[in-house]
Symmetry: D3
Subunit: 134 residues, 6 copies
Amino acid sequence: MYAIEVREHIMIAHSFKGALFGPAQALHGATFVVDVAFMREELTQDGVVVDIARAHNTLKAVLGRINYRNLDEIPDFKGKNTTTEFLCKFVFDAMTTAAREGALGPGSAGVARIKVTLHESHVARAWYEGAVRG
Amino acid sequence: MYAIEVREHIMIAHSFKGALFGPAQALHGATFVVDVAFMREELTQDGVVVDIARAHNTLKAVLGRINYRNLDEIPDFKGKNTTTEFLCKFVFDAMTTAAREGALGPGSAGVARIKVTLHESHVARAWYEGAVRG
Amino acid sequence: MYAIEVREHIMIAHSFKGALFGPAQALHGATFVVDVAFMREELTQDGVVVDIARAHNTLKAVLGRINYRNLDEIPDFKGKNTTTEFLCKFVFDAMTTAAREGALGPGSAGVARIKVTLHESHVARAWYEGAVRG
Amino acid sequence: MYAIEVREHIMIAHSFKGALFGPAQALHGATFVVDVAFMREELTQDGVVVDIARAHNTLKAVLGRINYRNLDEIPDFKGKNTTTEFLCKFVFDAMTTAAREGALGPGSAGVARIKVTLHESHVARAWYEGAVRG
Amino acid sequence: MYAIEVREHIMIAHSFKGALFGPAQALHGATFVVDVAFMREELTQDGVVVDIARAHNTLKAVLGRINYRNLDEIPDFKGKNTTTEFLCKFVFDAMTTAAREGALGPGSAGVARIKVTLHESHVARAWYEGAVRG
Amino acid sequence: MYAIEVREHIMIAHSFKGALFGPAQALHGATFVVDVAFMREELTQDGVVVDIARAHNTLKAVLGRINYRNLDEIPDFKGKNTTTEFLCKFVFDAMTTAAREGALGPGSAGVARIKVTLHESHVARAWYEGAVRG
């Protein structure tokens, strides 16, 4: 399986509900360095997984919806804890939609799997990996 | 599949037996930067894989059994080469036991897989990944 | 000149005032990975700059005053933009006070300079370096 | 599954054919930091996946065939875009051959899978992972 | 002294003249991850060294002059070895000019020193640091 | 001031004397990732600080004297705590001698300063920087 992976970052505020979270129940924030990997069995005729420039731009567009925001105030996240794991899935869903809609260019249709990794610090990160179903 | 990964480190001395190891047959040492990833299919009600604070503390407790030690003198490792690969499995076994015993909190029972990575330098690392069987 | 440097991190929310900041005028947040370096001309009798464990603990105590907080609500920061640069100086001032008060152990008195670096993402960081005056 | 991974790098020139590549159609270059991971179900009698020194040396020998070269002038790559993904597969093929030929020492025969990652910058990388078939 | 530092990268081809360079006398290439730090004694009224967005954009514009190029064909570099050290100075000169011309926004005039670091691989880098003279 | 910096690593065992060191009084070990930077005011005729290949080889030779060793048994270190800071100075002294003896090639004589950084983990490092006196 081939993969290419691109990196961007966001800087957000949020708070968590539940005793489990201890001090993170207060309003705080995070820089998430976001890696998105696109996987496919064979390369396109150009010799790529997908166009890396389009992959980068698509990721920027997706992250633009939550960057520099207080996630507690985003209606789609209402009633959810926007944990690092949760946000991995949010980015995964948006990127799989983009792949299915051809936003990654010529190779979009053949993307088999996507993996999204969010680094929240030098000692913790989360990821979500799954198939891109047609 | 979701994952969260936490990082700690240990500083140990050891030596290896076997011509294969060349100069590493002498007593030397290593800093191992240790990443442990916990994977599960669905998030808990709190929206996490497991409680990251408990994951960190459990990892520290496991590593505390070998940190600042000469591994050649640990009875459990007698007759074994404590290679980076071997130590990945040692940490994996301890962490799967911890997961089964509920040490990671509410999400412990649902952890499906664990991956342990030991970075021994900027140019070499090892990992062990496996299922957490019930 | 000798130096030792230790690393911790914080996760905070804040907002900035001023058109210069563009989207960062909204409430957002950051993970700051914080490196603090202590410098001195000669090593102590033990052969260290300062006790690295005490340095770590002192840094954790200083960062604990702002970790998991909305910096907009901290009285001491009222009317200030808590930029990465500004926070470098905040940590610098607290660490120089700690050094002068002996909080770093036997080597505290000889610390000549301190450098504080805050990494706000994989593409941006800030630092403040200055003398520890008696 | 156990794995060990070693790191080397190469510095090459190349150009791409196809409008997809935009400015990268011009002759340019790259540093590729190359990670190769060897995976197997069980450790050897010595307690390793393979001999890490032999793994390093084999990787250096493979990379020596393209290091400090203009890839546009290498006959084997004629008519191909030597993208990061393509080069991952090139290294993968060479390393699987080496494994099958025993170049990695005593553990060579048991290597089940190989993963090759090429980091082309701090924000982009590619990999290829596959089975080592007998 | 305060500093902020931003990061970008370029991918170039070049060759060196002189037996000293061994295999690097052939046409090859490099990814340079470029860090530029701006230093000043006091922060601006906004609480920054300079506007980080403008700093990033200015760096991108400077690097755009050499990115995706064969440096052997750039007239300004004729007769020069475009070593990592040399390119640090090239970026330094362009950034000091930008600072003097106010391209970094309100804080431009107060920038006292600039440091440019080029990472050429995971095991080698170069830098140039100097004063911004009026 | 120009600089180039090269990286190698060592894996050693040692123990410390003194209550200050807590658990590190026991025999343990470390991987030290070692960066050595060479600084000079002007580049050589070839356009370099020093020959990077010779710099790398010289560093390897210096580190070879302590790599894969128990530092407690090295006569030159008798009665010393081989702390990270102490080892920075050991490498610094050896590299300044090498520079003065011309081991770095044509540029050796002009090296004005050397900085040696030892990374002992992902959260701690030390350095020593000084002039190369004639």
